[in-house]
Protein backbone atom coordinates (compact mmCIF):
# COMPACT_ATOMS: atom_id res chain seq x y z
CA UNK A 1 0.00 0.00 0.00
CA UNK A 2 1.20 3.49 -0.74
CA UNK A 3 0.89 6.49 1.51
CA UNK A 4 -2.20 8.21 0.00
CA UNK A 5 -4.13 4.94 0.20
CA UNK A 6 -2.99 4.50 3.80
CA UNK A 7 -4.13 7.99 4.71
CA UNK A 8 -7.44 7.45 2.97
CA UNK A 9 -8.02 4.24 4.91
CA UNK A 10 -7.31 6.16 8.13
CA UNK A 11 -9.83 8.83 7.11
CA UNK A 12 -12.46 6.19 6.49
CA UNK A 13 -11.78 4.52 9.82
CA UNK A 14 -12.09 7.79 11.70
CA UNK A 15 -15.24 8.66 9.75
CA UNK A 16 -16.88 5.54 11.09
CA UNK A 17 -15.37 5.96 14.56
CA UNK A 18 -17.09 9.30 15.22
CA UNK A 19 -20.66 8.45 14.37
CA UNK A 20 -22.48 11.43 15.80
CA UNK A 21 -20.24 13.81 13.90
CA UNK A 22 -20.83 11.77 10.75
CA UNK A 23 -24.58 11.87 11.25
CA UNK A 24 -24.76 15.64 11.61
CA UNK A 25 -22.40 16.31 8.71
CA UNK A 26 -24.18 13.99 6.34
CA UNK A 27 -27.65 15.28 7.17
CA UNK A 28 -26.78 18.96 6.90
CA UNK A 29 -24.94 18.55 3.61
CA UNK A 30 -27.66 16.26 2.24
CA UNK A 31 -30.35 18.89 2.78
CA UNK A 32 -28.42 21.56 0.92
CA UNK A 33 -27.33 19.29 -1.90
CA UNK A 34 -30.85 17.93 -2.33
CA UNK A 35 -32.15 21.41 -3.06
CA UNK A 36 -29.26 22.18 -5.40
CA UNK A 37 -29.95 18.96 -7.27
CA UNK A 38 -33.63 19.80 -7.61
CA UNK A 39 -32.79 23.25 -8.95
CA UNK A 40 -30.41 21.98 -11.56
CA UNK A 41 -32.93 19.38 -12.65
CA UNK A 42 -35.73 21.94 -12.66
CA UNK A 43 -33.75 24.44 -14.69
CA UNK A 44 -32.83 21.75 -17.13
CA UNK A 45 -36.43 20.57 -17.25
CA UNK A 46 -37.69 24.09 -17.91
CA UNK A 47 -35.15 24.58 -20.67
CA UNK A 48 -36.06 21.31 -22.26
CA UNK A 49 -39.75 22.10 -22.10
CA UNK A 50 -39.25 25.61 -23.45
CA UNK A 51 -37.11 24.18 -26.22
CA UNK A 52 -39.76 21.58 -27.09
CA UNK A 53 -42.49 24.18 -27.17
CA UNK A 54 -40.46 26.60 -29.26
CA UNK A 55 -39.58 23.77 -31.60
CA UNK A 56 -43.26 23.00 -32.02
CA UNK A 57 -44.20 26.65 -32.35
CA UNK A 58 -41.41 27.28 -34.86
CA UNK A 59 -38.25 29.00 -33.73
CA UNK A 60 -38.35 31.38 -36.71
CA UNK A 61 -42.05 32.17 -36.45
CA UNK A 62 -44.36 34.69 -34.84
CA UNK A 63 -48.14 34.87 -34.55
CA UNK A 64 -49.99 38.18 -34.62
CA UNK A 65 -53.43 38.09 -33.11
CA UNK A 66 -55.96 40.89 -33.22
CA UNK A 67 -56.86 42.82 -30.10
CA UNK A 68 -54.97 43.04 -26.82
CA UNK A 69 -55.50 41.84 -23.28
CA UNK A 70 -57.35 45.03 -22.36
CA UNK A 71 -59.74 44.89 -25.32
CA UNK A 72 -60.45 41.24 -24.63
CA UNK A 73 -61.35 42.01 -21.05
CA UNK A 74 -63.77 44.68 -22.14
CA UNK A 75 -65.32 42.28 -24.65
CA UNK A 76 -67.00 43.06 -27.92
CA UNK A 77 -65.50 42.96 -31.31
CA UNK A 78 -62.33 44.79 -30.44
CA UNK A 79 -60.16 41.81 -31.37
CA UNK A 80 -61.03 42.27 -35.01
CA UNK A 81 -58.19 44.55 -35.97
CA UNK A 82 -56.10 42.69 -38.54
CA UNK A 83 -57.36 42.99 -42.07
CA UNK A 84 -56.69 41.17 -45.31
CA UNK A 85 -55.11 44.46 -46.44
CA UNK A 86 -52.68 44.26 -43.51
CA UNK A 87 -51.76 40.73 -44.58
CA UNK A 88 -51.10 41.84 -48.11
CA UNK A 89 -49.08 44.84 -46.95
CA UNK A 90 -46.92 42.71 -44.66
CA UNK A 91 -46.35 40.22 -47.43
CA UNK A 92 -45.25 42.94 -49.81
CA UNK A 93 -43.13 44.95 -47.38
CA UNK A 94 -41.27 42.20 -45.54
CA UNK A 95 -38.89 40.51 -47.92
CA UNK A 96 -37.26 38.84 -44.94
CA UNK A 97 -40.42 36.82 -44.29
CA UNK A 98 -40.71 33.65 -46.32
CA UNK A 99 -44.21 32.80 -45.14
CA UNK A 100 -47.04 35.24 -44.40
CA UNK A 101 -50.25 33.36 -43.81
CA UNK A 102 -53.61 34.72 -42.62
CA UNK A 103 -55.82 32.54 -40.42
CA UNK A 104 -59.53 32.84 -39.70
CA UNK A 105 -61.01 30.86 -36.86
CA UNK A 106 -64.44 29.67 -37.81
CA UNK A 107 -64.71 27.69 -34.62
CA UNK A 108 -66.16 24.38 -33.49
CA UNK A 109 -68.69 23.16 -36.05
CA UNK A 110 -70.48 19.89 -36.60
CA UNK A 111 -69.55 18.22 -39.89
CA UNK A 112 -71.32 15.29 -41.56
CA UNK A 113 -70.38 12.44 -43.82
CA UNK A 114 -73.27 10.13 -44.65
CA UNK A 115 -74.63 8.97 -41.34
CA UNK A 116 -71.58 10.04 -39.39
CA UNK A 117 -71.04 13.37 -37.70
CA UNK A 118 -68.28 14.92 -35.64
CA UNK A 119 -67.63 18.30 -34.02
CA UNK A 120 -64.43 19.75 -35.36
CA UNK A 121 -62.49 23.00 -35.38
CA UNK A 122 -62.69 24.84 -38.73
CA UNK A 123 -59.91 27.16 -39.78
CA UNK A 124 -59.60 29.30 -42.87
CA UNK A 125 -56.16 29.80 -44.34
CA UNK A 126 -54.31 29.86 -47.66
CA UNK A 127 -52.12 27.57 -49.72
CA UNK A 128 -49.22 28.15 -47.32
CA UNK A 129 -50.93 26.79 -44.21
CA UNK A 130 -49.03 23.53 -44.22
CA UNK A 131 -45.74 25.35 -44.73
CA UNK A 132 -46.50 27.95 -42.09
CA UNK A 133 -46.87 25.25 -39.41
CA UNK A 134 -44.41 22.74 -40.87
CA UNK A 135 -47.34 20.38 -40.97
CA UNK A 136 -47.11 18.16 -44.00
CA UNK A 137 -50.02 16.83 -46.04
CA UNK A 138 -49.59 13.05 -46.03
CA UNK A 139 -52.20 12.02 -48.55
CA UNK A 140 -54.03 13.85 -51.31
CA UNK A 141 -52.89 17.38 -52.16
CA UNK A 142 -52.27 20.65 -50.35
CA UNK A 143 -54.54 23.67 -50.68
CA UNK A 144 -53.73 25.64 -53.86
CA UNK A 145 -53.70 29.33 -54.74
CA UNK A 146 -56.60 28.63 -57.05
CA UNK A 147 -58.69 27.21 -54.17
CA UNK A 148 -58.42 30.55 -52.36
CA UNK A 149 -58.92 32.68 -55.44
CA UNK A 150 -62.02 30.80 -56.54
CA UNK A 151 -63.42 30.32 -53.06
CA UNK A 152 -63.54 26.59 -53.61
CA UNK A 153 -65.23 24.20 -51.21
CA UNK A 154 -62.20 22.06 -50.48
CA UNK A 155 -60.44 21.19 -47.23
CA UNK A 156 -57.47 19.63 -45.52
CA UNK A 157 -58.51 17.52 -42.55
CA UNK A 158 -56.62 16.29 -39.51
CA UNK A 159 -55.89 12.64 -38.90
CA UNK A 160 -58.42 12.31 -36.08
CA UNK A 161 -61.28 13.73 -38.13
CA UNK A 162 -60.35 11.51 -41.07
CA UNK A 163 -60.44 8.42 -38.87
CA UNK A 164 -63.70 9.38 -37.19
CA UNK A 165 -65.61 10.15 -40.37
CA UNK A 166 -64.10 7.77 -42.88
CA UNK A 167 -62.68 5.02 -40.67
CA UNK A 168 -60.13 3.10 -42.69
CA UNK A 169 -61.33 4.36 -46.10
CA UNK A 170 -59.31 6.97 -47.96
CA UNK A 171 -61.07 10.32 -47.38
CA UNK A 172 -59.35 12.09 -50.29
CA UNK A 173 -61.90 13.15 -52.95
CA UNK A 174 -64.88 12.38 -50.69
CA UNK A 175 -67.36 14.97 -49.49
CA UNK A 176 -68.52 16.15 -46.12
CA UNK A 177 -71.03 18.79 -45.09
CA UNK A 178 -70.15 21.73 -42.92
CA UNK A 179 -72.70 24.45 -42.21
CA UNK A 180 -74.75 23.32 -45.17
CA UNK A 181 -71.82 23.49 -47.59
CA UNK A 182 -70.62 20.38 -49.40
CA UNK A 183 -66.85 20.28 -49.07
CA UNK A 184 -64.46 18.00 -50.93
CA UNK A 185 -61.51 16.59 -48.99
CA UNK A 186 -58.32 17.58 -50.79
CA UNK A 187 -55.79 16.09 -48.39
CA UNK A 188 -55.05 14.76 -44.91
CA UNK A 189 -52.61 16.42 -42.50
CA UNK A 190 -49.99 14.38 -40.71
CA UNK A 191 -50.82 13.21 -37.20
CA UNK A 192 -49.68 15.71 -34.55
CA UNK A 193 -51.07 14.38 -31.32
CA UNK A 194 -52.52 16.11 -28.31
CA UNK A 195 -51.07 19.20 -26.61
CA UNK A 196 -50.09 18.98 -22.94
CA UNK A 197 -53.33 20.82 -22.15
CA UNK A 198 -55.37 18.11 -23.81
CA UNK A 199 -56.17 19.89 -27.03
CA UNK A 200 -56.44 17.41 -29.89
CA UNK A 201 -54.47 18.95 -32.74
CA UNK A 202 -55.71 16.38 -35.23
CA UNK A 203 -59.39 17.22 -34.91
CA UNK A 204 -59.47 20.10 -37.40
CA UNK A 205 -60.42 21.11 -40.88
CA UNK A 206 -58.63 23.76 -42.94
CA UNK A 207 -60.54 25.46 -45.77
CA UNK A 208 -59.49 28.30 -48.09
CA UNK A 209 -59.68 31.56 -46.15
CA UNK A 210 -61.97 33.10 -48.77
CA UNK A 211 -64.42 30.23 -48.33
CA UNK A 212 -64.26 30.52 -44.56
CA UNK A 213 -64.78 34.27 -44.48
CA UNK A 214 -67.38 34.73 -47.19
CA UNK A 215 -69.33 31.50 -46.97
CA UNK A 216 -69.08 30.62 -43.30
CA UNK A 217 -68.45 33.82 -41.35
CA UNK A 218 -69.97 36.47 -43.59
CA UNK A 219 -66.85 38.51 -43.12
CA UNK A 220 -65.13 40.60 -45.78
CA UNK A 221 -62.31 42.32 -44.02
CA UNK A 222 -60.94 40.95 -40.78
CA UNK A 223 -58.87 37.82 -40.13
CA UNK A 224 -58.23 36.29 -36.69
CA UNK A 225 -54.51 36.07 -36.90
CA UNK A 226 -51.44 36.18 -39.00
CA UNK A 227 -48.58 33.75 -39.05
CA UNK A 228 -45.18 35.01 -40.22
CA UNK A 229 -41.96 33.05 -40.56
CA UNK A 230 -38.64 34.78 -41.09
CA UNK A 231 -35.67 33.57 -43.08
CA UNK A 232 -33.21 34.77 -40.50
CA UNK A 233 -34.30 33.49 -37.10
CA UNK A 234 -31.35 35.07 -35.29
CA UNK A 235 -32.77 38.53 -35.94
CA UNK A 236 -36.26 37.59 -34.88
CA UNK A 237 -36.45 40.18 -32.14
CA UNK A 238 -35.53 42.93 -34.56
CA UNK A 239 -38.10 41.71 -37.06
CA UNK A 240 -40.78 41.57 -34.40
CA UNK A 241 -40.12 45.19 -33.51
CA UNK A 242 -40.24 46.20 -37.20
CA UNK A 243 -43.48 44.35 -37.63
CA UNK A 244 -44.96 46.04 -34.61
CA UNK A 245 -44.06 49.49 -35.86
CA UNK A 246 -45.37 48.65 -39.30
CA UNK A 247 -48.75 47.54 -37.98
CA UNK A 248 -49.04 50.44 -35.57
CA UNK A 249 -48.52 52.80 -38.45
CA UNK A 250 -51.09 51.02 -40.59
CA UNK A 251 -53.59 51.06 -37.75
CA UNK A 252 -52.85 54.78 -37.21
CA UNK A 253 -52.10 54.35 -33.54
CA UNK A 254 -50.77 57.45 -31.81
CA UNK A 255 -47.82 57.48 -29.52
CA UNK A 256 -48.86 56.30 -26.07
CA UNK A 257 -51.80 54.33 -27.38
CA UNK A 258 -51.46 50.60 -26.75
CA UNK A 259 -51.07 48.11 -29.60
CA UNK A 260 -54.37 46.78 -30.85
CA UNK A 261 -52.72 43.44 -31.65
CA UNK A 262 -50.34 41.02 -29.94
CA UNK A 263 -47.21 39.51 -31.40
CA UNK A 264 -46.44 36.12 -29.92
CA UNK A 265 -42.86 35.03 -30.52
CA UNK A 266 -40.83 32.10 -29.17
CA UNK A 267 -39.21 34.56 -26.80
CA UNK A 268 -42.58 35.40 -25.28
CA UNK A 269 -43.16 31.73 -24.72
CA UNK A 270 -39.82 31.27 -23.03
CA UNK A 271 -40.47 34.37 -20.87
CA UNK A 272 -43.74 32.89 -19.78
CA UNK A 273 -42.16 29.57 -18.89
CA UNK A 274 -39.28 31.18 -17.05
CA UNK A 275 -41.71 33.26 -15.02
CA UNK A 276 -43.59 30.10 -14.22
CA UNK A 277 -40.60 28.07 -13.03
CA UNK A 278 -38.38 30.98 -12.02
CA UNK A 279 -39.99 31.79 -8.70
CA UNK A 280 -39.89 28.21 -7.51
CA UNK A 281 -36.30 27.81 -8.66
CA UNK A 282 -35.37 31.03 -6.88
CA UNK A 283 -37.04 29.91 -3.69
CA UNK A 284 -35.43 26.49 -3.62
CA UNK A 285 -32.15 28.03 -4.75
CA UNK A 286 -31.98 30.48 -1.87
CA UNK A 287 -33.03 27.75 0.55
CA UNK A 288 -30.38 25.40 -0.85
CA UNK A 289 -27.51 27.87 -0.81
CA UNK A 290 -28.44 29.01 2.68
CA UNK A 291 -28.57 25.43 3.89
CA UNK A 292 -25.17 24.73 2.38
CA UNK A 293 -23.59 27.83 3.86
CA UNK A 294 -25.04 27.01 7.26
CA UNK A 295 -23.94 23.41 6.81
CA UNK A 296 -20.47 24.71 5.97
CA UNK A 297 -20.26 26.64 9.23
CA UNK A 298 -21.67 23.75 11.24
CA UNK A 299 -19.18 21.43 9.61
CA UNK A 300 -16.23 23.74 10.18
CA UNK A 301 -17.11 23.94 13.86
CA UNK A 302 -17.70 20.23 14.18
CA UNK A 303 -14.37 19.50 12.55
CA UNK A 304 -12.54 21.99 14.72
CA UNK A 305 -14.15 20.45 17.78
CA UNK A 306 -13.17 17.04 16.53
CA UNK A 307 -9.56 18.15 16.01
CA UNK A 308 -9.39 19.57 19.53
CA UNK A 309 -10.88 16.38 20.94
CA UNK A 310 -8.35 14.33 19.03
CA UNK A 311 -5.24 16.34 19.86
CA UNK A 312 -3.78 13.28 21.54
CA UNK A 313 -4.39 11.18 18.44
CA UNK A 314 -2.57 13.76 16.33
CA UNK A 315 0.35 13.73 18.77
CA UNK A 316 0.52 9.92 18.62
CA UNK A 317 0.50 9.91 14.83
CA UNK A 318 3.22 12.55 14.69
CA UNK A 319 5.31 10.58 17.21
CA UNK A 320 5.19 7.45 15.05
CA UNK A 321 6.31 9.33 11.96
CA UNK A 322 3.36 11.19 10.40
CA UNK A 323 4.31 14.38 8.59
CA UNK A 324 2.25 17.56 8.75
CA UNK A 325 0.74 16.92 5.35
CA UNK A 326 -0.21 13.38 6.40
CA UNK A 327 -2.30 14.84 9.21
CA UNK A 328 -3.69 17.51 6.89
CA UNK A 329 -4.79 14.97 4.29
CA UNK A 330 -6.27 12.63 6.84
CA UNK A 331 -8.51 15.31 8.33
CA UNK A 332 -9.34 16.89 5.01
CA UNK A 333 -10.09 13.40 3.75
CA UNK A 334 -12.47 12.84 6.64
CA UNK A 335 -14.41 16.02 5.88
CA UNK A 336 -14.58 15.31 2.15
CA UNK A 337 -15.69 11.72 2.74
CA UNK A 338 -18.43 12.96 5.06
CA UNK A 339 -19.66 15.69 2.73
CA UNK A 340 -19.50 13.34 -0.24
CA UNK A 341 -21.67 10.89 1.65
CA UNK A 342 -23.97 13.82 2.39
CA UNK A 343 -23.90 14.76 -1.29
CA UNK A 344 -24.87 11.27 -2.40
CA UNK A 345 -27.67 11.12 0.13
CA UNK A 346 -28.72 14.60 -1.00
CA UNK A 347 -28.80 13.49 -4.62
CA UNK A 348 -31.01 10.54 -3.80
CA UNK A 349 -33.27 12.74 -1.66
CA UNK A 350 -33.42 15.38 -4.39
CA UNK A 351 -34.17 12.75 -6.99
CA UNK A 352 -37.15 11.36 -5.12
CA UNK A 353 -38.52 14.65 -3.84
CA UNK A 354 -38.43 16.07 -7.36
CA UNK A 355 -40.39 13.06 -8.57
CA UNK A 356 -42.90 14.10 -5.96
CA UNK A 357 -42.77 17.68 -7.24
CA UNK A 358 -43.49 16.47 -10.75
CA UNK A 359 -46.36 14.43 -9.44
CA UNK A 360 -47.89 17.18 -7.31
CA UNK A 361 -47.21 20.27 -9.41
CA UNK A 362 -46.52 18.99 -12.94
CA UNK A 363 -43.23 20.77 -12.62
CA UNK A 364 -40.93 20.04 -15.55
CA UNK A 365 -37.91 18.18 -14.19
CA UNK A 366 -35.09 16.68 -16.20
CA UNK A 367 -32.39 14.63 -14.52
CA UNK A 368 -29.07 14.27 -16.22
CA UNK A 369 -25.46 13.84 -15.15
CA UNK A 370 -25.42 17.62 -14.63
CA UNK A 371 -27.66 17.50 -11.57
CA UNK A 372 -25.51 14.69 -10.16
CA UNK A 373 -22.27 16.51 -10.93
CA UNK A 374 -23.58 19.74 -9.40
CA UNK A 375 -24.49 17.91 -6.19
CA UNK A 376 -21.16 16.15 -5.89
CA UNK A 377 -19.11 19.23 -6.75
CA UNK A 378 -21.04 21.28 -4.22
CA UNK A 379 -20.49 18.69 -1.52
CA UNK A 380 -16.75 18.56 -2.27
CA UNK A 381 -16.58 22.33 -2.20
CA UNK A 382 -18.28 22.42 1.20
CA UNK A 383 -16.04 19.59 2.44
CA UNK A 384 -12.84 21.28 1.37
CA UNK A 385 -13.80 24.80 2.39
CA UNK A 386 -15.11 23.86 5.81
CA UNK A 387 -12.54 21.12 6.44
CA UNK A 388 -9.45 23.03 5.41
CA UNK A 389 -9.05 25.31 8.39
CA UNK A 390 -9.54 22.57 11.00
CA UNK A 391 -7.24 20.25 9.07
CA UNK A 392 -4.55 22.95 8.87
CA UNK A 393 -4.97 23.51 12.58
CA UNK A 394 -4.47 19.79 13.17
CA UNK A 395 -1.42 19.62 10.93
CA UNK A 396 0.25 22.61 12.59
CA UNK A 397 -0.15 21.34 16.14
CA UNK A 398 3.17 21.09 17.88
CA UNK A 399 3.74 17.34 18.45
CA UNK A 400 4.96 17.77 22.01
CA UNK A 401 2.01 19.99 22.90
CA UNK A 402 -0.30 17.43 21.36
CA UNK A 403 1.17 14.57 23.33
CA UNK A 404 1.45 16.13 26.81
Amino acid sequence: MNRPANLFSQSIKATFAFKLRAFFCIISVALGVASIVIIVAAVEGAYKKAFDIVEMFGPDAVIIVGGNDEARAVGGNKDKTITLEDVKAVRESFACAYVVVPVSMVGMTTVFHRDRKERTFIIGSDHNYSRAWSWPVVSGRDLAKEDVKRMKNVALIGRYLADELFEDKDPVGKYLFAGGLPIRIAGVLKERGTTPRGHNMDNRMVVPISTAMRKMQNEKKYVSMLRVRFIDQNNLEFHVEELRMFLRQRHRLHEGEPDDFMIISPKEIIKFLVALTGSLVLFIGIAGITTLVVAGFVLANLFLLSVKERTREIGIRRAVGARQQDILFQFLGESVILTTAGGLLGFVTGFFSSKLLVFVAQFPICFSWKAFAAGIVMSWAVGIVSGLQPALHAARLNPIEAIR
Binding site: R3, N6, L7, S9, Q10, K13, A14, A17, F18, R312, E313, G315, I316, R317, R318, A319, V320, G321, A322, R323, Q324, Q325, D326, N398, P399, I400, I403
Partner: protein, 225 residues
Protein backbone atom coordinates in the same frame (compact mmCIF):
# COMPACT_ATOMS: atom_id res chain seq x y z
CA UNK B 1 31.57 8.15 16.90
CA UNK B 2 28.72 7.09 19.22
CA UNK B 3 25.32 6.18 17.80
CA UNK B 4 23.82 9.20 19.47
CA UNK B 5 25.53 12.39 20.60
CA UNK B 6 24.29 15.56 22.32
CA UNK B 7 26.63 18.47 22.88
CA UNK B 8 25.70 21.40 25.05
CA UNK B 9 21.99 21.08 24.32
CA UNK B 10 19.65 23.68 25.79
CA UNK B 11 15.91 23.98 25.59
CA UNK B 12 13.95 27.08 26.43
CA UNK B 13 10.16 27.36 26.45
CA UNK B 14 8.50 30.69 25.90
CA UNK B 15 5.63 30.93 28.31
CA UNK B 16 3.49 34.02 27.89
CA UNK B 17 5.95 36.72 29.03
CA UNK B 18 8.70 34.69 30.66
CA UNK B 19 11.22 32.28 29.22
CA UNK B 20 11.83 29.03 31.03
CA UNK B 21 15.11 27.27 30.36
CA UNK B 22 14.34 23.63 31.03
CA UNK B 23 17.55 22.05 29.73
CA UNK B 24 20.73 23.93 30.53
CA UNK B 25 23.53 22.32 28.56
CA UNK B 26 23.16 18.60 28.22
CA UNK B 27 26.11 16.49 27.07
CA UNK B 28 25.14 12.93 26.40
CA UNK B 29 26.44 9.99 24.40
CA UNK B 30 24.52 6.82 23.79
CA UNK B 31 26.14 3.85 22.14
CA UNK B 32 24.48 1.39 19.85
CA UNK B 33 22.89 -1.42 21.83
CA UNK B 34 23.04 0.38 25.16
CA UNK B 35 20.33 0.23 27.85
CA UNK B 36 20.18 3.60 29.58
CA UNK B 37 17.99 4.79 32.45
CA UNK B 38 17.27 8.43 33.20
CA UNK B 39 16.10 9.48 36.65
CA UNK B 40 15.37 12.80 38.25
CA UNK B 41 12.84 14.74 40.23
CA UNK B 42 9.56 15.77 38.74
CA UNK B 43 9.93 18.80 36.49
CA UNK B 44 13.67 18.34 36.08
CA UNK B 45 13.33 18.03 32.29
CA UNK B 46 13.42 14.27 31.68
CA UNK B 47 10.47 14.19 29.32
CA UNK B 48 11.76 17.26 27.52
CA UNK B 49 15.08 15.49 26.99
CA UNK B 50 13.27 12.36 25.76
CA UNK B 51 11.32 14.40 23.21
CA UNK B 52 14.57 15.89 21.93
CA UNK B 53 16.23 12.48 21.71
CA UNK B 54 13.16 11.22 19.86
CA UNK B 55 13.16 14.15 17.41
CA UNK B 56 9.66 15.19 18.46
CA UNK B 57 11.10 18.58 19.26
CA UNK B 58 14.18 20.62 18.36
CA UNK B 59 16.70 22.04 20.84
CA UNK B 60 17.10 25.77 21.32
CA UNK B 61 20.87 25.43 20.94
CA UNK B 62 23.55 22.77 20.85
CA UNK B 63 24.77 20.03 18.57
CA UNK B 64 22.87 16.84 18.04
CA UNK B 65 24.07 13.89 15.98
CA UNK B 66 22.25 10.64 15.26
CA UNK B 67 23.89 7.85 13.33
CA UNK B 68 26.57 10.23 11.98
CA UNK B 69 24.01 12.78 10.92
CA UNK B 70 23.67 16.29 12.27
CA UNK B 71 19.97 16.66 12.98
CA UNK B 72 19.57 19.78 15.08
CA UNK B 73 18.46 21.85 12.11
CA UNK B 74 16.37 19.47 10.05
CA UNK B 75 12.95 20.37 8.72
CA UNK B 76 9.76 19.07 10.23
CA UNK B 77 9.35 16.55 7.40
CA UNK B 78 12.88 15.24 7.79
CA UNK B 79 12.38 14.86 11.54
CA UNK B 80 9.16 12.91 10.86
CA UNK B 81 11.12 10.61 8.61
CA UNK B 82 13.77 10.06 11.29
CA UNK B 83 11.08 9.26 13.86
CA UNK B 84 9.53 6.72 11.58
CA UNK B 85 12.93 5.10 10.78
CA UNK B 86 14.90 5.25 14.02
CA UNK B 87 12.59 5.84 16.94
CA UNK B 88 9.98 3.86 18.81
CA UNK B 89 8.16 5.65 21.63
CA UNK B 90 6.55 4.07 24.70
CA UNK B 91 4.59 6.44 26.93
CA UNK B 92 3.44 6.35 30.53
CA UNK B 93 -0.24 6.53 29.50
CA UNK B 94 0.14 4.06 26.63
CA UNK B 95 -1.33 6.51 24.08
CA UNK B 96 -3.22 4.06 21.91
CA UNK B 97 -5.91 5.18 19.46
CA UNK B 98 -9.15 4.41 21.32
CA UNK B 99 -11.19 3.68 18.19
CA UNK B 100 -8.64 1.37 16.56
CA UNK B 101 -8.13 -2.30 17.30
CA UNK B 102 -4.96 -3.75 18.78
CA UNK B 103 -3.90 -4.85 15.30
CA UNK B 104 -4.54 -1.41 13.83
CA UNK B 105 -2.76 0.34 16.68
CA UNK B 106 0.34 -1.78 16.23
CA UNK B 107 0.22 -1.19 12.46
CA UNK B 108 -0.02 2.58 12.80
CA UNK B 109 3.68 3.42 12.28
CA UNK B 110 3.79 1.32 9.11
CA UNK B 111 1.34 3.72 7.45
CA UNK B 112 3.89 6.51 7.58
CA UNK B 113 6.89 4.38 6.65
CA UNK B 114 8.28 4.87 3.17
CA UNK B 115 10.03 1.50 3.17
CA UNK B 116 8.41 -1.01 0.87
CA UNK B 117 7.97 -4.20 2.79
CA UNK B 118 5.23 -6.61 1.90
CA UNK B 119 5.22 -8.50 5.15
CA UNK B 120 4.07 -5.70 7.41
CA UNK B 121 1.04 -7.59 8.58
CA UNK B 122 3.09 -10.68 9.25
CA UNK B 123 5.50 -8.60 11.28
CA UNK B 124 2.67 -7.06 13.30
CA UNK B 125 1.36 -10.50 14.18
CA UNK B 126 4.86 -11.70 15.01
CA UNK B 127 5.31 -8.79 17.42
CA UNK B 128 1.93 -9.38 19.02
CA UNK B 129 3.07 -12.95 19.64
CA UNK B 130 6.29 -11.70 21.22
CA UNK B 131 4.31 -9.54 23.68
CA UNK B 132 1.79 -12.33 24.25
CA UNK B 133 -1.28 -10.66 22.72
CA UNK B 134 -1.84 -12.64 19.54
CA UNK B 135 -5.30 -13.64 20.80
CA UNK B 136 -6.33 -9.99 21.41
CA UNK B 137 -5.76 -8.59 17.92
CA UNK B 138 -9.36 -7.50 17.34
CA UNK B 139 -9.80 -5.90 20.78
CA UNK B 140 -10.15 -2.19 21.40
CA UNK B 141 -7.71 -0.65 23.93
CA UNK B 142 -10.55 -0.09 26.39
CA UNK B 143 -11.05 -3.85 26.54
CA UNK B 144 -7.48 -4.42 27.72
CA UNK B 145 -5.74 -4.09 31.10
CA UNK B 146 -3.06 -1.44 31.60
CA UNK B 147 -0.26 -3.96 31.26
CA UNK B 148 -1.77 -5.33 28.07
CA UNK B 149 -2.15 -1.83 26.66
CA UNK B 150 1.49 -1.08 27.39
CA UNK B 151 2.48 -4.30 25.64
CA UNK B 152 0.51 -3.16 22.60
CA UNK B 153 2.37 0.15 22.78
CA UNK B 154 5.70 -1.69 22.89
CA UNK B 155 4.74 -3.78 19.88
CA UNK B 156 3.80 -0.56 18.08
CA UNK B 157 7.16 0.99 18.99
CA UNK B 158 8.93 -1.98 17.44
CA UNK B 159 6.94 -2.43 14.25
CA UNK B 160 9.11 -0.29 11.98
CA UNK B 161 12.19 -2.02 13.45
CA UNK B 162 13.74 1.16 14.87
CA UNK B 163 17.17 1.12 16.51
CA UNK B 164 16.17 3.31 19.41
CA UNK B 165 13.34 2.57 21.89
CA UNK B 166 12.42 5.51 24.10
CA UNK B 167 10.21 4.73 27.08
CA UNK B 168 9.01 7.63 29.24
CA UNK B 169 7.94 6.14 32.60
CA UNK B 170 6.58 3.02 30.91
CA UNK B 171 5.61 1.50 34.24
CA UNK B 172 4.27 4.66 35.85
CA UNK B 173 0.67 3.45 35.65
CA UNK B 174 1.33 -0.20 36.45
CA UNK B 175 1.63 -2.33 39.56
CA UNK B 176 4.92 -4.00 40.51
CA UNK B 177 4.23 -7.35 38.94
CA UNK B 178 3.09 -5.85 35.65
CA UNK B 179 6.01 -3.45 35.76
CA UNK B 180 8.38 -6.38 35.95
CA UNK B 181 6.67 -8.00 32.97
CA UNK B 182 7.00 -4.82 30.92
CA UNK B 183 10.64 -4.35 31.94
CA UNK B 184 11.49 -7.90 31.04
CA UNK B 185 10.01 -7.36 27.60
CA UNK B 186 12.11 -4.21 27.18
CA UNK B 187 15.18 -6.13 28.41
CA UNK B 188 14.49 -8.79 25.86
CA UNK B 189 14.35 -6.11 23.15
CA UNK B 190 17.67 -4.83 24.39
CA UNK B 191 19.09 -8.32 24.18
CA UNK B 192 17.80 -8.50 20.61
CA UNK B 193 20.05 -5.55 19.83
CA UNK B 194 17.91 -2.49 20.36
CA UNK B 195 19.19 0.62 22.03
CA UNK B 196 16.81 1.34 24.91
CA UNK B 197 16.37 4.52 26.96
CA UNK B 198 13.99 4.47 29.94
CA UNK B 199 12.88 7.41 32.05
CA UNK B 200 11.72 6.33 35.49
CA UNK B 201 11.20 7.28 39.11
CA UNK B 202 11.51 3.68 40.16
CA UNK B 203 14.93 2.44 41.22
CA UNK B 204 13.90 -1.17 40.48
CA UNK B 205 13.08 -0.22 36.93
CA UNK B 206 16.37 1.64 36.61
CA UNK B 207 18.03 -1.51 37.80
CA UNK B 208 17.35 -3.22 34.47
CA UNK B 209 19.58 -0.66 32.71
CA UNK B 210 23.31 -0.87 32.15
CA UNK B 211 23.87 2.79 32.83
CA UNK B 212 21.98 5.38 34.85
CA UNK B 213 22.03 9.15 34.56
CA UNK B 214 20.38 11.60 36.88
CA UNK B 215 19.01 14.96 35.89
CA UNK B 216 18.66 17.81 38.30
CA UNK B 217 17.38 21.18 37.22
CA UNK B 218 18.09 20.67 33.54
CA UNK B 219 21.61 19.30 33.92
CA UNK B 220 23.07 15.81 34.04
CA UNK B 221 24.58 15.65 37.47
CA UNK B 222 25.49 12.03 37.90
CA UNK B 223 26.41 9.07 35.76
CA UNK B 224 26.68 5.58 37.16
CA UNK B 225 27.78 2.57 35.27
Amino acid sequence: MPFFLMENITKTFNLAAEEVQVLKGINLEINRGEFLAIMGTSGSGKSTLMHLIGCLDVPTSGRFVLDDREISHLSDNELSLIRSRYIGFVFQNFYLLPYATVLENVSLPTLYDEKKTDNKKKRVIELLKQVGLEDRMGFKPSQLSGGQQQRVAIARALVNDPELILADEPTGQLDDKTSREIMSILSKMHQNGKTVVVVTHDADVAGYAQRLIRITDGMICDQTL
